[in-house]
């Protein structure tokens, strides 16, 4: 079974040289720490930055330079700033190669719910709805089950939808799942996790890929 760092490490393997990538808040942000060696990836922040660098040293903290999670950051070489309309413009027109998001629920048809829990204070969707409606390649990083032990990989989302049929892949502490017409296709299982356990914890349609293998992180 993976911890959140393991999930991030596994997703980092999806990165390719020259990719423009938008990383959501939470586990997705950690992906930046596991960039495969020898490749260059440009991180987009939807508040208006291409080329997010590491957190600044204390003396370089700059109130004018934050990421979409409102954390102070730095820039990498070749970075650029732009306004929020252009930022979502590049998202909508499919220029971002990969988007990694957290989620509360994912359905086996690629629907995602990650912005609102009925009965709780609604904080807003921020840029999530724009990202899921437009990104061409969305990977969800999340826990396989919620705190009540219920599967988050469902046949149908129960929470209010953020976007329809948009998720391409889910990486959880249990494995890696492609979303295909036949449902969640398990292509990798985490070390120490049995396929039976995955079946037990997956409520939506699950298919085990013929060439399923143990994840190498």
């Amino acid at each position: 079974m993976l911890d959140k760092f393991g999930i991030a490490k596994r997703i980092a393997k999806e990165l390719k040289d020259g990719y423009y990538v938008n990383l959501g808040i939470g586990i997705p942000t950690l992906v930046a720490n596991y960039m495969p060696p020898g490749i260059e990836v440009i991180l987009q922040s939807e508040n208006g930055l291409l080329g997010i660098g590491p957190f600044p040293f204390e003396e370089n903290v700059d109130a004018d330079l934050i990421n979409a999670g409102k954390q102070t950051v730095t820039t990498t070489k070749g970075s650029s700033f732009f306004d929020s309309a252009m930022s979502f413009g590049m998202i909508r027109s499919g220029r971002v190669d990969l988007t990694v998001l957290g989620a509360m629920e994912v359905a086996d048809n690629g629907d995602i719910a990650n912005w609102k829990i009925p009965g709780k204070m609604v904080k807003g969707m921020g840029g999530e709805m724009d990202l899921v409606a437009s990104a061409k390649n969305i990977i969800v990083a999340m826990q396989h089950v919620n705190k009540a032990g219920e599967s988050k990989l469902l046949s149908k989302c129960t929470l209010p939808i953020t976007g329809l049929g948009c998720v391409k892949k889910v990486v959880t502490e249990l494995g890696v799942f492609d979303i295909k017409p036949e449902g969640f296709v398990c292509i990798e299982y985490a070390p120490g996790v049995s396929l039976d356990y995955i079946k037990e914890k997956t409520q939506g349609r699950l298919v085990i890929a013929p060439d399923v293998k143990e994840m190498v992180v």
Partner: protein
């Protein structure tokens, strides 16, 4: 002669009255018009509709207006960091309309570009789409979203000149240039104000034609919501 410079925030907001609709630039607390917000608080203008990506924190940014119950309606994409906001919302004292961030940005741009409406895929299949027109182009569904109608846009820039030309710095740009184009009256506060002719015309983000009033702001706190650092 063309000179849009006013003395300070009080003068800049002098004709904003109760019930006005305001756009306020910024993302979180980054790039917010601190001086004008304080002047709105001081003048106690009430029943405001505020269009802004966020609603500040309890004791800074738009949160200062919320504390004094000056906001009737908040139009934003994310309002997460504000306990007073939550209280007023749950008690029904204040209304909130949540809009996807890209839709918010693009609706501002539409206003400034004289486009009455835009199509965006954001929100299709969600609550956001309720009551909205859905239209398919090339096999993909889009929502029709309308331009805003805002009495005033209040923005913060890094540098500005007496003609109202503006330059923003780093990610404090965010919604500011979009809202600057979208107010019936646009007010800009800047950290550095120079005479017309000192800014490089190739590097101006907001041409002065969009700006009605400009002043040099004072005592910027530039509070940071989440200081994250790399330890040496």
């Amino acid at each position: 002669m063309l000179n849009k410079v006013v003395k300070n925030a009080d003068e800049a907001i002098k004709d904003i009255s109760d019930g006005a609709t305001l756009m306020l630039g910024g993302f979180g607390l980054c790039g917010i018009p601190e001086n004008c917000i304080q002047a709105l608080v001081k003048k106690n203008i009430r029943e405001l509709t505020c269009i802004s990506n966020n609603a500040g924190v309890d004791d800074f940014g738009i949160g200062l207006l919320l504390q004094k119950h000056q906001v009737k309606k908040m139009i934003a994409s994310y309002v997460g960091e504000n306990a007073e906001f939550e209280r007023q919302l749950l008690s029904g004292e204040m209304e909130v309309e949540l809009i996807p961030q890209g839709t918010l940005a693009t609706r501002c741009m539409a206003t400034g570009y004289g486009m009455p409406a835009i199509y965006t895929p954001a929100g299709v299949g969600t609550e956001v789409a309720e009551g909205k027109e859905i239209r398919e182009f090339n096999g993909k569904k889009y929502l029709l979203e309308h331009a805003f109608n805002s009495d005033f846009a209040i923005v913060k820039a890094w540098k500005g000149d007496s003609h109202g030309n503006l330059i923003y710095r780093a990610t404090s740009r965010n919604f500011n240039p979009l809202m600057a184009m979208a107010g019936k009256i646009t007010i800009a506060e800047v950290e550095e104000l120079v005479p017309a002719g000192e800014l490089d015309p190739d590097m101006i983000h907001t041409p002065g034609i969009y700006v009605n009033r400009i002043f040099k702001g004072e005592n910027y706190e530039k509070r940071i919501e989440q200081i994250t650092i790399t330890k040496r």
